[in-house]
C-alpha cells in the first residue's frame, strides 16, 4: 500500500513529469481542435520521438496528449459543427445549436467542469478495478490470451469500419505483416525474400505512422477547405447551481463511459453516442429539445468520453488488449520500452500502473484549468487552415519514422503504408484493425497460440477440447462469438438498431 502511494505521488513531486503532462495536454487540445487531425495520429507520432526517453516522461507526454486531444475535439464541434474527432460527433449535434444562441462559452465551461469530474470517476474505476482484474488474469492460460488477442483484433476491426468483414480482412493483413522476418521460436525466415532489411520484420511504428498519419493527411487533401466562422466566447466559468443541475446527467453518462471504455474495442466515440441516446431518453422535459441546443446533449457525450479514458486503460493494463485505437498505440509504446502489457505488467512494474493513474489525474486537472481559463486561446486553433498543417504532418511523419532506427528504408515503408492506408480508408477498411493486427499478431496471438498448441502436444483435438474443458476459456470463447455476432446486421435487426 505504501509502495503504491509512493509510486502514485511520483508525478506530483517531479516537476519534469508534471511539465510534460501539461505540455501534452496543451498540444493535445491543439491537435484535437483541428478537425481531421486525430489524437491517434498524434500519439503514434509521439512514440517515435519519445522511445529513447525514460518511460515515465514518454508516458507523461502521451497521457497528456490523449486527454487533451479528447477534450480538444469538442471545441470545433461546438464552434463550427465539425467534430474534432469521432468522440465529439455527438457533441456537435446540440453544441453548435447552443453556440448559435451565443452561449458557447457557458456550455464549454459547464461541460469542462462536469467532464473533469466524470474523467476523475473513470480514473477511480481504473484504480479500483484494474488490480483485482490483473490478479484474476494471472490464472489465464496461453489459450485464453490467444482468445483475448483475437478479441482485440476483431473488435477494433468491427467497430471501426462499415462492415465487420472488412475489419477482419484488415486485421488478417496486419497479422500477415507481423509474421514478416525471423521467426522468434525457430529462427526461420518468413517473407524476407533474401532481404537483410526485412529480417528484423516490418517495424510497427513505421506502419502505424503511415496508416494513421500519412493516410489521414492524404484523405484530408481530398477536402482541404474549412469554413472560417468567428465565434465569441463569454461567461466560461459556470455557477455551482448549474453544475448541480446537470450533475445527474453527467453521473449517468460517466457510468456508461467507464463501462463502454472498459470493453475491448469500444472507445470514447461509442460511449459518447450511447450517453447522448441515454440522456435523450431519460430527459423527460429538457428546457430546449434535443437537437435544438439542449445542454444535456453536450454534457452527456462529453462526460462519457472523458469517463471512458480511465475505462479504456483497464483492459490495456490488465489483459494487454486495447480499449480503443489510442490505447492500442500505447500498447505499442510499452512494447518499445521493453514492457509487455498484460497481467504480469502489474506484478513486474506496479509503479507503472500507479504512475499512469496519477498521470491521468494530473492531465484531467490540467484539462479543467486550461479549458476554463484558456478556451479563448484554443478556440483560435479552429481558424488555422488545414492546408498549412498537413504538409507539416508529412514532414513530422518522416522525422518520426527515421528516428526509430535511423533507416530511410523505414521512411519508404511508412510512405508505402500511408498510400496503402489511404486506399483502405477510401473503401471503408478500418486501418486501426490493421495496426492492431501488426501489434498483437506476433507477440500475443501467434506466440500464445503456439504455446497453447505445444501444451496440447500438437494435437488439435486436445487444443480445441481445452476451450470447452476450461470454464474461463469457454466464457472467453462465447464472449468472442457474441461480440462478433453483435456486429452483424442480423443482431442489429433483432435488437431494432436498424
Amino acid at each position: 500500500m505504501t509502495d503504491s502511494l509512493q509510486y502514485f505521488l511520483i508525478p506530483f513531486l517531479n516537476w519534469e513529469v508534471m511539465a510534460l503532462v501539461w505540455a501534452g495536454v496543451i498540444s493535445g487540445i491543439w491537435v484535437g481542435a483541428i478537425p481531421g487531425i486525430s489524437v491517434t495520429m498524434a500519439v503514434s507520432l509521439l512514440i517515435s520521438f519519445t522511445f529513447s526517453w525514460e518511460l515515465n516522461n514518454a508516458m507523461a507526454l502521451m497521457c497528456g496528449v490523449y486527454v487533451g486531444g479528447v477534450y480538444g475535439g469538442a471545441i470545433p464541434a461546438i464552434l463550427l459543427h465539425i467534430p474534432g474527432g469521432p468522440s465529439a460527433v455527438a457533441t456537435s449535434i446540440d453544441g453548435y445549436q447552443i453556440c448559435k444562441r451565443g452561449e458557447a462559452g457557458a456550455i464549454m465551461g459547464l461541460s469542462t467542469v462536469l467532464a473533469t469530474l466524470c474523467g476523475l470517476s473513470g480514473v477511480l474505476a481504473l484504480m479500483l478495478l484494474a488490480p483485482p482484474l490483473a490478479e484474476f488474469s494471472l490464472s489465464f492460460s496461453p489459450r485464453d490470451f490467444f482468445l483475448l488477442g483475437c478479441m482485440g483484433v476483431l473488435l477494433i476491426g468491427s467497430m471501426g469500419g462499415e462492415d465487420p468483414v472488412k475489419g477482419i480482412l484488415a486485421g488478417a493483413i496486419g497479422i500477415l505483416i507481423s509474421t514478416v522476418g525471423m521467426d522468434p521460436v525457430t529462427g526461420e525466415m518468413r517473407y524476407t525474400f533474401g532481404s537483410v532489411e526485412l529480417m528484423g520484420g516490418i517495424h510497427f511504428i513505421a506502419a502505424m505512422i503511415g496508416l494513421f498519419g500519412v493516410s489521414e493527411a492524404l484523405i484530408q487533401f481530398r477536402n482541404p477547405g474549412m469554413p472560417n466562422i468567428k465565434q465569441k466566447l463569454a461567461r466560461v466559468i459556470p455557477s455551482w447551481k448549474q453544475v448541480k443541475k446537470y450533475l445527474p446527467v453527467a453521473g449517468r453518462s460517466s457510468i456508461i463511459g467507464i463501462f463502454v471504455g472498459a470493453l475491448p474495442g469500444a472507445g470514447g466515440d461509442v460511449a459518447a453516442l450511447l450517453a447522448y441516446d441515454q440522456a435523450k431518453r431519460m430527459s423527460k422535459k429538457p428546457e430546449v429539445p434535443f437537437g435544438k441546443g439542449a445542454y444535456e446533449g453536450v454534457i452527456a457525450p462529453e462526460s462519457a468520453n472523458k469517463a471512458s479514458i480511465g475505462g479504456e486503460f483497464i483492459p490495456m493494463l490488465t489483459l494487454g488488449i486495447p480499449g480503443d485505437a489510442v490505447t492500442a498505440v500505447m500498447i505499442g509504446a510499452l512494447f518499445i520500452h521493453g514492457l509487455k502489457p498484460g497481467p504480469m505488467l502489474m506484478v513486474d512494474t506496479p509503479h507503472l500502473f500507479w504512475m499512469i493513474v496519477s498521470l491521468l489525474l494530473i492531465a484531467l486537472l490540467a484539462m479543467c484549468v486550461l479549458g476554463l481559463f484558456s478556451v479563448r486561446f484554443f478556440a483560435k486553433v479552429v481558424d488555422v487552415p488545414k492546408t498549412l498543417v498537413l504538409p507539416l504532418i508529412i514532414v513530422l511523419s518522416v522525422i518520426g519514422t527515421y528516428a526509430i532506427q535511423n533507416s530511410l528504408g523505414d521512411v519508404f515503408a511508412m510512405m508505402g503504408f500511408g498510400i496503402f492506408g489511404y486506399f483502405l480508408r477510401l473503401y471503408g477498411f478500418p486501418t486501426g484493425a490493421l495496426v492492431l493486427g501488426i501489434i498483437l499478431g506476433g507477440p500475443i496471438l501467434e506466440q500464445n497460440y503456439r504455446r497453447a498448441m505445444q501444451m496440447a502436444y500438437n494435437d488439435p483435438a486436445t487444443f480445441l477440447g481445452g476451450f470447452v474443458s476450461s470454464p474461463l476459456s469457454l466464457f472467453l470463447l462465447l464472449f468472442l462469438v457474441f461480440m462478433m455476432f453483435s456486429q452483424t446486421k442480423t443482431y442489429k435487426k433483432l435488437r431494432g438498431f436498424e
Binding site: 468483414v165 492524404l218 487552415p385 504538409p391 471503408g428 500438437n458
Partner: protein, 179 residues
C-alpha cells in the same frame, strides 16, 4: 500569413469532383444507396491476390505440426482470401457505382495525386539533398500548389520558420537524429 479564405487555392477548381469523391460523402452514400464505390472490385481483387501470394510463399516454410512457423502465415492468408471473397461478393451485390464518376478521379483527385507525387519525390530526395533542404522544398512546393502559387513569400517564410522550429525542437532539444 495566408488566411482561410485563400486556403482553398486550386482546390476550388476541384470542388465538384471532390464533392463527388469525398470519402465521407461516399461512405454516407454507401449507407443510404446500395451502389459500390468506383474501383472497389479491383481493390478487393488485389487484396485477394495478396492473400494468395501470402499462402503461396508460406508453402515454402517448414511445416512440422500445428505449432510450426507456417501456421500463422497460412491462416492469415486464408482469412484474407476468404474475407476478401465475401467482401467481393457483397460489393458485387451492391450494384454498379454511379455512372459518370471516373475511377481515377474518385481514387485520386488532382490534389491527392499531386501531393502523393510530392511525398514520394520528397522521400527520394532526402538522401541527396538532406533533410533540411528536401523538407523546405517539399513544404514550399506543397503550399504553393495548395495556394495556387499565391502568397509565395509568406509561404516560404512559414516553411522556413516551421522547419527551423522542428529542427531546433527535435535535433537539439529532443536529440532526435534527423534523416
Amino acid at each position: 500569413m495566408p488566411n482561410n479564405k485563400l486556403q482553398t487555392g486550386n482546390c476550388e477548381a476541384e470542388t465538384n469532383e471532390q464533392e463527388a469523391s469525398s470519402p465521407d460523402k461516399a461512405s454516407a452514400s454507401a449507407g443510404s444507396a446500395p451502389e459500390r464505390k468506383s474501383g472497389e472490385l479491383f481493390f478487393l481483387s488485389l487484396l485477394i491476390i495478396l492473400g494468395c501470394l501470402g499462402y503461396y510463399f508460406a508453402l515454402d516454410m517448414s511445416d512440422d505440426g500445428y505449432a510450426s512457423p507456417a501456421v500463422f502465415p497460412r491462416a492469415a492468408s486464408l482469412i484474407i482470401m476468404g474475407s476478401g471473397l465475401i467482401a467481393l461478393f457483397q460489393a458485387r451485390r451492391r450494384g454498379r457505382p454511379k455512372a459518370g464518376i471516373d475511377v481515377w478521379v474518385y481514387l485520386m483527385p488532382g490534389t491527392v495525386r499531386i501531393m502523393m507525387a510530392f511525398m514520394v519525390l520528397y522521400c527520394a530526395a532526402i538522401p541527396y539533398l538532406h533533410f533540411p533542404l528536401a523538407s523546405f522544398i517539399f513544404m514550399v512546393a506543397s503550399l504553393a500548389f495548395l495556394y495556387r502559387g499565391r502568397h509565395l513569400p509568406a509561404l516560404c517564410l512559414y516553411s522556413a520558420v516551421s522547419l527551423a522550429i522542428l529542427i531546433i525542437v527535435f535535433r537539439y532539444i529532443m536529440l532526435v537524429i534527423l534523416p
